[in-house]
Every structure is written in structure tokens, then in C-alpha cells.
């Protein structure tokens, strides 16, 4: 009777713990005790005896591990506005750990190197950078503590340098390094684990990184100015009283968009603007600063073209001045 009760109790305890440990991909939690006890029954003469061995105990140490993946799978477009790259950092170790997060835009093979503006942790876990909500950290600073198997999303916000040209590509690296320790796999970190247990650097070396891609989407604006002269005598000579028609053609190329494009020109000295002669695409614009795109003053003209996508039709601005 006594032996049976013992066996049943041991069985119940074992089954309960199996469910607890197998839940972790990272493995048995650091600090867990492995305890082994054998028991035996035997008969000798008329009696049956039950004996139990000593209990030998081994504590599970912390195995340091980290994985980084880029969640931005297709290159993010970067142009006049910054690009947000998303990464995931997972604690693959068996103990709580935090990780230094370092963004590096200088990657070998880059056509251009972006400028890292912000490193942020997705505090609300929605996968979208929310300024003022998500935690902005200094580049290279540590994350919060992650439980085994837990992961966080990290944002790197990068801006294109002025040297970047349309369709050039670039990569930005996020490296996560265990605060517990890193180095050659197998390196012992005495007493550095959770609760003061020893830690051992795992196969990842305690550090991992991933690359996410950028593609420059920029627009190039070319303005071409020409002039035609009509003199009072039916000719084309630049004499006093002649009318000069200036034409400015705005040509936008590239995969990006020229945003807030505004064309300004100043009248040449010795000329006088001819009122109400300003046109855009052949349509007259009033001189006054009003709801239409153009304004003319005594010194020059301004035409607001706004956001112009690369490859869209050329826009032609024209105005007339008279030589004094």
C-alpha cells in the first residue's frame, strides 16, 4: 500500500511538470532543478522491502540566445520622406534577458547609406510606428527584459541622403546583442544568469542581426527656359518696345514625386511685366495671389505646381515682358 501511494504521487507530479516545461521552444527555464531519485522493491526470504536512493539534483543554467528577423520583406521606398523598417527580436534563450539594439545603415554593397533617425520599440505591439506612443531609444541601448520565447518589434527610421539617386537600393542592419553576455558559443558567464545562475553563450553567440532593404524613390525636376521676341516692327529684335515671351517647361522624371514644386522667376532688369500674361499649360492665371496656381508681382512670377509625379506630362509656364 505504501509503495503504491508513492508511485502514484510521483506520477502525478511528473505529469504536471511535463506540461510546464514543454511549453517553451527555448527549452527548460534557467534555474529549473533536475532531480533524480530511484526507488526499488525486492523480496528476501519472506519479506518485501522498499528502498529509495539519494536524490541527486542538477540546476539548469541559462543558455543565452537571440534571433532577429526583418519583417520588412520587400524594400521600403525612401525618398523625400523617411522610411520605417520593422524587425523582430526574439529571446531564444531559456532565461529572461534584454538585448542591446543597434541600427547600422552602413552595409557593404549599399548604393547609398541612409541616415538613421530613430530607433524605437513597438510598445503597443501593433506593428506600426506610433510617434509619442512607441518607446524611442538611443541607438545601441538595451530593450526591456524579454521572457524566454518573447519577442518585440523594433523600428528603424531612415532618411535618404541627398546623394541618393532614384531606384538605388540600400540595406540597414539591426543587431541585437544579449546584455547577459555574448561571445564564442559555449563561453561561460559565471553568475550572470537570472537569479544568479551561471549563463552559457548559446549557438547564436548571444548576438543576431538582420537586414532590411530600402529603395530610393526620387524625382528629378528639370526646368527649361526659352524666350521669343516680337518687336514693334514685325521682327524679332530685342529693341525697346519689343515683347519677350518667356516659356518655362517643368519636366519631372523618376519613380518618386516632386512634392510642393514651386517655380519662381524674376523679370530681367529693364523690362516690365505685361499684366495678365501669365499662363500655365496655355490657361490664363490671374496675377493676384488667389485660388489659382499663379501670382505675378512687379518683380517676378511664382507658379505652384504642387506634387508632381515622375513621368507625368510636362507643365509649361509662360509670361510676357516688354523691353523698356
Amino acid at each position: 500500500m505504501k509503495r503504491m501511494r508513492y508511485l502514484l504521487a510521483a506520477g502525478a507530479a511528473t505529469a504536471g511538470l511535463v506540461g510546464g516545461t514543454s511549453a517553451y521552444a527555448a527549452g527548460t527555464l534557467a534555474g529549473t532543478l533536475i532531480q533524480n531519485t530511484a526507488n526499488a522493491t525486492f523480496s528476501s526470504g519472506s519479506g518485501t522491502s522498499t528502498i529509495q536512493s539519494n536524490t541527486v539534483t542538477v540546476k539548469v543554467d541559462q543558455l543565452v540566445g537571440v534571433a532577429v528577423t526583418a519583417l520588412t520583406s520587400t524594400p521600403a521606398t525612401i525618398g523625400t520622406t523617411a522610411a520605417t523598417l520593422i524587425y523582430q527580436v526574439t529571446n531564444t534563450g531559456n532565461g529572461a534577458d534584454s538585448f542591446d539594439l543597434t541600427g547600422a545603415p552602413n552595409v557593404s554593397g549599399n548604393a547609398f547609406n541612409a541616415t538613421l533617425q530613430t530607433v524605437a520599440i513597438d510598445t503597443n505591439g501593433n506593428g506600426v510606428y506610433d510617434p509619442g506612443v512607441d518607446t524611442v531609444i538611443t541607438n545601441g541601448a538595451a530593450s526591456q527584459t524579454l521572457a524566454p520565447d518573447a519577442s518585440i518589434k523594433v523600428f528603424l527610421i531612415a532618411a535618404a541622403p541627398t546623394t541618393a539617386t532614384d531606384t538605388q537600393t540600400s540595406q540597414v542592419r539591426l543587431t541585437a546583442t544579449s546584455v547577459t553576455g555574448s561571445g564564442t558559443p559555449g563561453t561561460l558567464l559565471a553568475g550572470k544568469g537570472v537569479g544568479g545562475v551561471d549563463a552559457v553563450v548559446g549557438a547564436s553567440g548571444g548576438t543576431a542581426n538582420a537586414l532590411a532593404g530600402l529603395i530610393a524613390s526620387l524625382a528629378t525636376v528639370t526646368l527649361t527656359k526659352s524666350a521669343t521676341i516680337a518687336d514693334p516692327y514685325g521682327g524679332t529684335n530685342p529693341v525697346p518696345g519689343a515683347t519677350v515671351t518667356y516659356t518655362i517647361v517643368s519636366h519631372v522624371t523618376g519613380s518618386g514625386t516632386a512634392t510642393g514644386l514651386q517655380v519662381t522667376d524674376t523679370f530681367p532688369t529693364g523690362t516690365t511685366y505685361q499684366a495678365s500674361s501669365l499662363t500655365l499649360g496655355g490657361t490664363a492665371l490671374t496675377d493676384a495671389a488667389d485660388s489659382d496656381a499663379g501670382t505675378a508681382t512687379s518683380t517676378g512670377i511664382t507658379v505652384t505646381l504642387g506634387n508632381v509625379a515622375g513621368g507625368s506630362a510636362d507643365k509649361t509656364i509662360a509670361f510676357k515682358v516688354k523691353i523698356n
Binding site: 530511484a38 526507488n39 525486492f42 523480496s43 519479506g47
Partner: protein
């Protein structure tokens, strides 16, 4: 005076004999458990296993659980059954697991691993795997006085 002294001597003999009698009946077997770390060492392109004291143990490490027994009595013992619950943080390794009986249900039923099956709630029965094993058991028919041996199982830290 002489009688008194003889009585004292007799009493001493009885006292000395009592612990020995208690050990001898009904039979005495020592049982000792130990854990060793199974370390694969590569030297000059050759690998071999070293079983060392487990200084550092992390998930994925291979452990050797050893139970040593010895019949310390002066009579043989029969039907010596050693039962060892497999600690939950480790999983039995399949290599060598057919050398003993195992249980996958907390010690209720026993058999060779290949003969057992597991039924989880809401799932159909499947063949038991080494990682399902909750207990291992050895049955030794007779241990002669003074005879000793070791029982081993290999397991990996989950």
C-alpha cells in the same frame, strides 16, 4: 564479582550484534543515484564520449542517469525492481531505451517503448516516443550477496 563481570560481557555482545541483525533481515541493498554530463569530445578528428560531473547544464545537453545497486546483505534478494521517474525537465533518449521497460502514463502501465501508445485529450492515439516516457523500470531476478551493478538511461535536457 565473577558472575557480574560475565553478565556485562554478555550484554556487550548482544548490543554489538543488534545493529548487524537489523541490517541482515529482511535483506539489504544499497541504491545510489547520480547524474553525469555526456560530453562529446573531438580529438584528432575522433569523437568520443566523456561522462563528467555536470558543472554546467543547459537545454540540449545530454545527461546520463546512473543508479548503482549493491546487495550488502548475506542473503540473495529476489525480484529486484528499480523504478525511476524521469525528471520532467529531461526527455528520455530513444537510443538504448529498449533495454528496459518504460511507462508513458506516470507508472500505471509498463512495456517496451515500441509497444506503447499515447492518447492526448482531443487527439487520436499515436505511437509513444521517447520524450513521452515518464518512468523507466528495470527488473533484476536475483542479486547474490555482495553482487552489484549499475542501471543507466540517457536523457536530453528539454
Amino acid at each position: 564479582m565473577r558472575n557480574f563481570s560475565r553478565n556485562v560481557v554478555t550484554a556487550l555482545v548482544v548490543l554489538a550484534a543488534t545493529p548487524a541483525l537489523a541490517l541482515a533481515a529482511p535483506g539489504a541493498v544499497s541504491l545510489e543515484s547520480s547524474i553525469k554530463l555526456d560530453k562529446v569530445v573531438t580529438e584528432k578528428g575522433q569523437t568520443h564520449h566523456e561522462y563528467v560531473a555536470p558543472q554546467k547544464v543547459v537545454p540540449g545537453n545530454h545527461l546520463l542517469f546512473v543508479t548503482s545497486y549493491r546487495n550488502t546483505g548475506d542473503k540473495p534478494v529476489d525480484h529486484f525492481v528499480v523504478t525511476n521517474p524521469v525528471p520532467s525537465p529531461v526527455a528520455l533518449e530513444s537510443a538504448g531505451a529498449d533495454n528496459f521497460d518504460v511507462s508513458v502514463d506516470g507508472g500505471k502501465t509498463w512495456g517496451k517503448l515500441s509497444q506503447l501508445s499515447v492518447t492526448k485529450p482531443g487527439a487520436s492515439a499515436r505511437a509513444a516516443e521517447a520524450a513521452d516516457v515518464t518512468h523507466v523500470r528495470w527488473v533484476i531476478p536475483v542479486i547474490a550477496p555482495g553482487a552489484a551493478g549499475t542501471l543507466e538511461y540517457h536523457a536530453v535536457v528539454r
